[in-house]
């Protein structure tokens, strides 16, 4: 095992602390910039309506047994007939979200704004760290670690003889990038914390398709067996009253 490396205190003063401070400041700045760029989105009529249709159809499915058979049947036809039912999506019309995104420049613009506020500062800071601080050993964690942590903690140093508990400056940058969420939620308030990982998830789950949930709801409605619950209620009411009178 190699002897202990002695870290210069100047590294602490000029690398470790500035790096952390800059990361925090950039996070705060990014929050305010994205707040400035956030545009008020007018919800789309069609999407709102589809959401409401789904809620109402779900209510109908859930509470079907509480209304008379005739009313249920007429409602079901209204929702799921093959001509102009509310839940019926004609085959050709079911456009996918991708195409919709390209047809709507506003949506693309919004995406771009979001991405810009995320990617630009990240690339800049990464370039900055790489340029000035590459190859520094910036810190040492006070406990030993196994070899597998090498890629996490010593990014940028290609020496296999250095003990794993030393942290390189580039790794310190990454640790800060993903680990400062708790601090941001303290500074900027609970819900404002910039959460990169969450954002990436959002990007992944982008292709939400309302017409799919419409047709799923239609299928669900089609197989509902209507069994009017009210005749049973008469017996239950009798039981209740018997208890009350006696």
């Amino acid at each position: 095992m190699a002897e202990d490396l002695v870290l210069d205190t100047a590294i602490r003063d000029w690398v470790l602390i500035p790096l952390s401070v800059v990361m925090v400041l950039i996070g705060v700045l990014r929050y305010f910039v994205s707040k400035l760029m956030r545009s008020f989105q007018v919800p789309d009529l069609k999407i709102v309506k589809e959401g409401q249709v789904i809620v109402r159809a779900r209510n109908l499915r859930g509470a079907a047994n509480f209304i008379p058979p005739k009313s249920f049947r007429s409602r079901r036809v209204y929702f799921s007939n093959e001509e102009n039912g509310l839940l019926f999506v004609p085959k050709g019309q079911a456009q996918n979200a991708q195409a919709q995104m390209f047809s709507d420049p506003n949506m693309a613009m919004d995406m771009m704004k979001k991405n810009l506020s995320m990617i630009i500062p990240q690339t800049l800071t990464f370039a900055w760290v790489n340029f000035f601080f590459s190859g520094f050993v910036a810190a040492k964690i006070p406990f030993p670690l196994t070899q597998r942590f090498r890629s996490m903690l010593q990014n940028g140093i290609d020496l296999s003889t250095v003990d794993v508990s030393y942290v390189s400056s580039r790794s310190w940058y990454f640790l800060n990038l993903f680990g400062l969420r708790g601090l941001f939620s303290l500074i900027l308030g609970e819900e404002n914390a910039m959460d990169d990982t969450q954002r990436m998830m959002q990007m992944g789950g982008f292709g939400f398709d309302p017409s799919k949930s419409l047709s799923a709801e239609k299928d669900g409605l089609d197989i509902v067996q209507h069994d009017w619950a009210l005749p049973k209620f008469e017996h239950r009411a009798e039981a209740v009253l018997k208890k009350l009178v006696s």
Binding site: L45, Q52, V55, R56, N59, E234, E238, V245
Partner: protein, 300 residues
């Protein structure tokens, strides 16, 4: 809907504030959260906070929410000057805001300047055609002017988009009942039952409308819904008990010739009558005579 615990909490706070125990701001917050209508108190205590610069600035950004709340309460109490001052303060702070524009429209409405209010709302809707509150204001305005058919029309248009809004369905149902359009009202009540199947009041109202419509089938259905109301309220609802009695006698009258009494629940009526008698004996003994004579007249 306001639950019982929330209501007791609200009343306790109100009592405390009334007796000078402080906590006015908490009371106003609770009123706003529960969306209850206590305009006079809101006006009184809200104004006392707003007129005290120290208390007002202690609220921070919440100050403007309070201005809005007080403005609406003031319009409800016809203190239009107060409302105007509040809106003016808000307008100074948020010159372009739609939310303040809405308040301006409401102020015009409160003054009875329908045409101007209509103009304000229309221009607001142009910016955001999906603003639910403004759509509802327009319905309310039509209703206030006595233009019931206009109110129905715009409510229907609203419900075409926001069809899961049960408060709107309820309003529509009540309007239809007031116009004696019972067929349409039944549809609305069915919709309400679908959205909240365990609220007995909707079952009761539905049964009332069906009973009013008449006809053997409707009467039988109506009786079933009165029964479900009894079940859901645990037999505490006098109207439902009376409804069962009325329905049974009406069914008896309608189906006189072919006497195929429904075998499902032969005892329901007598039980309901007994429950009624018991309740009257407990709560209004002097009116028991009226009840027994009324029930006797029902039994053919």
């Amino acid at each position: 809907m306001v639950s019982k615990t929330e209501e007791t909490q609200l009343n306790r706070l109100e009592n405390q504030v009334d007796n000078g125990g402080g906590g006015a701001w908490e009371y106003l917050c609770l009123v706003r959260k529960l969306k209850v209508r206590r305009s006079e108190k809101v006006l009184k205590y809200g104004l006392s906070i707003l007129n005290d610069p120290k208390k007002r600035s202690a609220l921070g950004p919440e100050e403007w929410t309070l201005y809005e709340q007080v403005a609406i309460a003031a319009m409800d109490c016809q203190c239009l000057n107060v409302a105007k001052d509040c809106i003016k303060a808000l307008l100074k702070k948020f010159p372009e805001s739609k939310r303040v524009g809405r308040l301006e429209g409401m102020l015009l409405e409160a003054k009875g300047l329908w045409a101007e209010a209509e103009k304000v709302y229309s221009s607001l809707l142009e910016d955001n055609p999906l603003d639910q509150v403004i759509h509802k204001r327009k319905v309310a305005m039509a209703k206030a002017q006595g233009n019931i058919s206009g109110a129905i029309e715009s409510l229907n248009k609203y419900l075409e988009i926001f069809m899961a809004d049960h408060d709107a369905w309820r309003e529509l149902a009540e309007i239809y009942v007031s116009l004696q359009m019972y067929k349409q009202a039944t549809f609305c009540y069915e919709e309400l039952i679908l959205s909240q199947p365990t609220v007995p009041l909707y079952h009761l109202a539905y049964a009332d409308v069906l009973y009013t419509l008449g006809g053997l089938e409707n009467l039988q259905t109506s009786k079933k819904y009165y029964a479900s109301t009894i079940d859901l309220t645990g037999g505490k609802n006098t109207r439902a008990l009376l409804g069962v009695c009325l329905c049974t006698s009406a069914i008896g009258q309608v189906s006189k010739g072919r006497n195929k009494e429904d075998k499902e629940s032969p005892e329901l009526q007598s039980l309901a009558a007994k429950a009624l008698e018991k309740e009257y004996r407990q709560k209004a003994d002097d009116k028991l005579g009226l009840l027994t004579s009324a029930l006797r007249s029902l039994k053919i």
